[in-house]
């Protein structure tokens, strides 16, 4: 035990055991963490037809699901426009108020104008615009 090189050998073995344990722990933990990370579903851009869009009157709106996003489509005098219905404040879905020509959020009384800009209330940013395409007599909305 009093040999000068024995502490070094001991220290080396301790180090080896600690290093192997750390590597083994990491090898077990990393797949576990990745397993918990949500797997992307669908992904990429999504395109959805707005059912019955042609029969909508001017000023009417419709909320459709595009992937995991709720999209609100409004038929205005100038044509169709679409926004993510997700309020930029805390994620409630806005509704279109035909009379006021505004998107209203039921959660904290926010209002957005017909271009999605914040008129009043707490949201920090405008509604996110979603692209609308007319193909023949069908209307499609798509998200990037």
């Amino acid at each position: 035990m009093s040999k000068p090189n024995s502490p070094t050998r001991r220290g080396f073995l301790d180090f080896l055991i600690a290093a192997c344990s750390a590597i083994t722990t990491a090898a077990l933990a990393i797949p576990g963490v990745l397993y918990l990370w949500p797997a992307a579903k669908g992904g990429g851009s999504q395109k959805v037809e707005v059912e019955g869009a042609k029969s909508m009157a001017i000023g009417q709106s419709k909320t459709v699901q595009v992937g995991s996003l709720a999209v609100i489509v409004v038929k205005q005098r100038s044509g169709f426009c679409a926004f993510s219905a997700v309020c930029t404040h805390l994620g409630c879905l806005v509704k279109w108020d035909t009379g006021k020509k505004q998107f209203l959020c039921p959660c904290h009384a926010a209002a957005f104008d017909e271009k999605g800009k914040v008129v009043s209330g707490p949201p920090p940013a405008p509604l996110v615009e979603v692209s609308v395409k007319e193909v023949g007599d069908k209307i499609f909305v798509s998200t990037a």
Partner: protein
Amino acid sequence: MSVIKKIQGFFDSRFDTDTVAHFVDKQAHKRLPPHTGWFHVFGSLSLLLFISQTITGILLLIYYRPTPDEAHKSIQYITGEVQFGWLYRQIHAWGATLMIVGVLLHMIRTFFSGAYKKPRELTWVTGVVLFVVTITFGFTGYLLPWNQIAFWATTVGTESANKVPVIGSWLQYFLRGGEAVTGETLSRFFVVHVIILPWILTGMIGIHLVLMRVNNLATFEAVGEEEPLEPKHGIPFFPVHVAKEGAVAILLLAVLVTLSVVSPWEIGEPADALSTPAHIKPEWYFLPSYQLLKYFEGPYGAIIGIIICSLPFLLLLLWPFLDRGKERRPRKRPIAVAFGLFALLAAVFLGVLGHYSETNITLFGKAYHIDLLGKPHLIVPADSTDTPNTEALSH
């Protein structure tokens, strides 16, 4: 008689039963400080509620299905078809609220009696973890019936995670199991609610109770000046304190069943991912944070708000290390007591504002609209212009 002897003999010949018997006996009859009384039952009240939650939770699990298609229907099945299903669901839902009340009362008691001071700092710290776990139980359990209020309260709640600096959007994605609240979120919350939290809570309660026993209950003697407790002055845990706990248990059972019958929790409409209902508010124990967050808006406001809302929890966790005074008697530590009272009042005040925000109330015969930030606006009858119209027209 001889059968019992035989069984005893069986164990005696296999391990030292005397040591076990001695330990159990010592713990059961342990002497508690002479002032141990009714204020000291809130801890056991919380434990009792946890046991009740575990039993009723396991019963609910037999019929509950954690998928978006089935969750709401399975709760309807439990309350409508299963014999006494309504009772167990109600006791579980009310038990959740009462458990938070129990933990809060327990914390208030230990705070004002200075019991968190040396050598019991770690007992307090494990207690704060228990409090946070209990609240998380409430948050995850709330989503499980998959109704409109739960779905949207969870959407708003997890959206707040987005405001956490740097990792916010990842955190939110991780909590939700995707971009939005979906069946993936339900699965995650379910696993956390019925497996992960119960075991964490069980382990933490174990540590908390061992620490409590090792240090015995605190007296009002100042830190470092405690006299050893003379057995003849102490109160035996069994039967004296246990009797008080028994009385509390019976009272609790009565309160749980009464609330379940008189004021049952509704099942609500099934979740609809395409329509947010009006008046989404969190459960009462989240109202103070919910209201406080509203005062911090804008690009930096949100981050500041999150930091300010986590501050109380950090303060709770570190409190025994911040307050190093030796006195325990409330009268001898006016600053800590004043601070505690102020924090309590502030929480109640914010909670009340949160509860009444965006509603109309009548006070002394006059109607007011309470706005988002809790400011009252007098409602002038007829052609009033200053009342915001919060009703969204349906399209």
